[in-house]
């Protein structure tokens, strides 16, 4: 049930962005979710439907893009896409590896109507990734 906690954080981010960008309504929410997170898509979607009710994100389409884990060996510099939770370098056998991606849970795009009625602008928000988001 931690999807509800995650979506609660998503709602905070959506409301913060809406205030900053002066949105009246959100029609699309796009996420990038690392596969190493234990996120069940159906539960996440259900949680979003529940927690967005009564907010400007009610009825918004939720797109979730799941990305695989990827590690780099700090000894031989080989990079590997993870299909399982195998953090041992497949080239040199070292356990000295670092996660490059796969544990992030990011809001990557919002589409909506601005309070000023302009639907055609594209903007890059000032939100920056925080240090720990990519694992």
């Amino acid at each position: 049930m931690h999807e509800y906690s995650l979506v609660s954080g998503l709602m905070d981010a959506l409301l913060e962005a809406s205030e900053k960008e002066r949105l009246a309504k959100i029609s699309l929410v796009e996420m990038r979710i690392g596969k190493l997170r234990s996120v069940v898509p159906d539960i996440f979607r259900q949680a979003f439907q529940t927690l967005s009710e009564g907010t400007l994100a009610q009825g918004a389409r939720l797109e979730m893009n799941f990305v695989p884990g990827e590690i780099i060996c700090l000894d031989c510099k080989q990079q590997k896409i993870l299909d399982q939770w195998n953090f041992v370098c497949s080239v040199c056998g070292s356990g000295n590896t670092e996660l490059l991606q796969g544990s992030e849970i990011l809001l990557t795009k919002i589409e909506g109507e601005s309070q000023d009625g302009n639907q055609n602008d594209e903007k890059h928000s000032g939100f920056q990734p925080t240090k720990s988001q990519t694992g």
Binding site: A13, H124, Q133
Partner: protein, 232 residues
Amino acid sequence: MEIKMMKNILDSNQQKARQVRKRLDENRILMLNLIGSPGAGKTLLLEKTIEALKNKYSMGVIESDVETDRDAKRLQRLDIPIVMIGSEGACHIESIIADKALNEFDLPSLDLLFVENVGNLVCPAEFDLGEHCKVAVSSTTEGEDKPAKYPLLFRESSICLLNKIDLLPYIRFDKNVYKNDLFTINPNIDFFEISCEKPESLDPWIQWIEDKYSSLFSSDYVMNQEKNVNGG
């Protein structure tokens, strides 16, 4: 209108976790977050750990359970400060709860703070409370496949304790499978086999805690030793 961004939705939990960590570091407190299944032996492990360290360190416990305060009551006989968090049905604790719990302790007087998280191998692994280390507590009676089935916990933990090792002669448990999976998921994790029925088996775990504390707060280690001996 389209707005592109890279916003971490766990940001607010992580910001609060950083605040918790700052409070801990300012007060030279090592916080360990014990995570494991219901019945893995977390509470008894805490009892034995606190008994072993009582003369050296000033300790506190944050206890969390979905229902009852039975675990907190078991620890009360140890005469240490315990803050009970009723999780009110939640399956994990978050950093905002940990931050509030810290307010209930006399932080300057503490050296070690243990969190006994809700019995759950899934959700607690996702949330940083501000602890210095997550401790994965698993037991032989759960089967050898727990690291493979719940890899995030074992990936996020600094140390894994395999408990109830005294029961190995009586149950089916393939230790090679367990260890192979564990070290594939987290090659650098520290690992000890323990039994709370055999106090000497806890010695490496106790030493690990002491080493962790002194590596973080070494300049104050001697001062705290003197403080505890003098009852101050």
